[in-house]
Amino acid sequence: MANRAVILISLWLSVCAANSVERKIYIPVNATSPCVRLLNATHQIGCQSAMRGNTGILHLVANSSDLDWILSDGPNPPYIAVIEAPAFTRDILMRLKTNPRVSGVFLLSSDVPPSTNYSPDLKCPNEYFGVYTDDYGAEYLACNGTQWNPHGNSLSYEDFPFPVFNLMNSNESDVIRECYFNHNHPVNGTAPPFPLCAMQISAHMHGVTDTPTCMRRSSAQGGLSLSQDVMCDPLSDYNVWGSFHPVNQTGQVSAESKFIIAASRLDSRSFFWNEAPGADSPVSGFVTLLAAAQALRKVTDIQDLPKNILFMFFQGETFDYIGSSRMVYDMKLNKFPIALENIDSFVELNQVGIGAAIWMHSDPVSRRNETVNEEVVDLVKNLQEGGTETNLSLHEPSHTQPIPPSSFQRFLRERNIPGLVLTDHETAYSNRYYHSTYDTAENMGIKYPDNLSSEEKLNFVTETAKNISRLATTLARGLYRRAGGSSAPEDIEADPLLVSRMLYSFLIQPNNSWFESVLSSDLHTNLDKPLTFYVAVQSPVPVTRIVQQILGNVTGTVTNLTQENCTNGDQTLKGSYSYFWIDGDANKTESHCVQAYVWLTKAQSPAFHLKDYTSRAFSTWTESRWKDISARIYLVSSKQLEIITLVTGIGILALSFLVTFLLSSKSDILFSTIPDTSPAAY
């Protein structure tokens, strides 16, 4: 006992987080990612626990009898359903959702994707925020023409009354399985005796109901409320844009200047927070665009073309086109150097990583206008010429088919711009795992020979990279022709090695020598884990800055500025350039300063700028705040043992009073031989 006291006091002195008793009781489960609550103008989606977390007896769902055990048969509710990856289906989750005996769901995820399609996103992504409305192409409203994501089960858009966690670490999964099989696994349909293995999952969300409610409470305008807690934040980040021509940041370009916008999106999502590997969507698209930019950089007359080429990377497109809607909004208000009228044409790269064929989608409604139609035909011709040269099969889907969900739709809402959306699907997505945790490098067919070191993998050109660089070459030549380039476009050639390196870095291992040699050192700290493409609320996320710097690298030039001048030099001297200081490493690159026309602009939905939180035109997605996201497993004792402990305690208390009362009232009898003491109180 004394030793315990000594240990305890010393632990207090050394300010220890978890004391030794707590460590005897609980095993924290660390490598988890939660499903969190998101809110929009009208709904809340995601998951939620009670203030101090939800607790429940673990039950592993391997077959339907396990599910019945949780839903009706098990004697010790509430249960936390531990689900192996293949059972994480809409059917099972919806049955759990409506049952009060369920206090949480814990997914033990695996790297092996399901054999069937799995997409937790909607069948018709960004349905109400695209170009098709009652007044414009009403026949295409709500994916009436083509269901783009027919296998989407919309789990990501359900509102669960309990927490759902994903565990990605196989060691920790084994600990949980072991705890279950040692203590909880029913034998012949009867529950094993206590103690049982249980879990506590904490993910209490502060935001509730919808964005208007949450923003109203966060700002507490007037009113009697004493708290100033912010309960949710708008999903927002930064768009990346860049060009070969200098574009004055503050002014407006002249009305005669024409720009071809080559665009792509930067974000993705999955059912779980900050888990969005996003290979086909968005990495395949923006990697192609970056490779095309690098190919165009080599052209000598690139700065003197009649039309300028503008690269745009939109953030938050997954959540009802946050980035593009803000860009269009800024353009309309002249808060962006380029106005909508300056846009000559628009080429967007969507999902382009799966399969060899590329489809060029265009908007059938805007093509009813003859001049626009001619421009689109011309654009198609520009691209197809490149396709013929590179042996890439480029097709047009049926002209009555609507344009797939894309940033371009937000531009079409405002102006009839000729444009194309390039994808790897003719009708429905060929990406079987759209916006799920399985949209990884394997989904794009990126394979490496066995036994390659990570450095060798970085420099290995995969088949997928070759396909993508072929598309990048085609795109670059098409853009060059469209921009009025005169010299031989045959010189424009994307670099397959660059593409392969980008795919490796964005999808597999960001912590590699190539990223280190092209990114500024403050970004290196974010490269420990594979990158994730969730837009998030803290901005800019690493991906945004990485894309910005790579775009700077492939479109800019190396200058001989010193580090001081590079990082914080006088902006007026620099004009419309932006600069990145790249720290060299000992053996390869020297430290240098990159100068490029590459910029970030705010990608926050105009709804928050307008404070119109019920907006139907702009995205209103916010992410709830939370205090604690955690999970831990432990054993629980039976109610009987708890009651026995309590009864024993009360018994001992009562007995103590009785005995003490007897002893002290009869102390004169008990302690009477010593004459010089008054009756002592023993």
């Binding site: 939620q48 935001g207 109203r216 807690d229 309960m231």
Partner: protein, 101 residues
């Protein structure tokens, strides 16, 4: 204060002060009045001022009951219907519960 040591006139004036004070939206004064002077008003042997004290105590009691009824009704209505009131519900709340509608 020990009422035993207070003269009857002082008791009456005290009771009266508490009774009048209750009208300034201070129902707790009425509650104190009822509890404090209940014995003086109803169980003590008769004395001159008792009649008036009794009146004050009775009126305080009625006022207290009205307050209790009003507050109970309001609290019940507020607790059950606040989420439906939207911004008005938030506006009139001192503390907003995190994570509940």
């Amino acid at each position: 204060m020990n009422l035993e040591r207070v003269s009857n006139e002082d008791k009456l004036s005290l009771c009266r002060k508490y009774y009048l004070g209750g009208f300034v939206l201070l129902p707790f004064l009425w509650m104190v009045n009822v509890i404090w002077f209940f014995r003086e008003a109803f169980t003590k042997p008769q004395f001159n001022e008792q009649q008036q004290i009794r009146k004050y105590v009775k009126c305080s009691g009625v006022g207290l009951l009205v307050w209790i009824a009003v507050l109970t009704t309001w609290i019940t209505v507020y607790q059950t219907l606040r989420p439906d009131w939207g911004s008005l519900g938030d506006y009139i709340s001192f503390t907003l519960p995190l994570g509940s509608p």
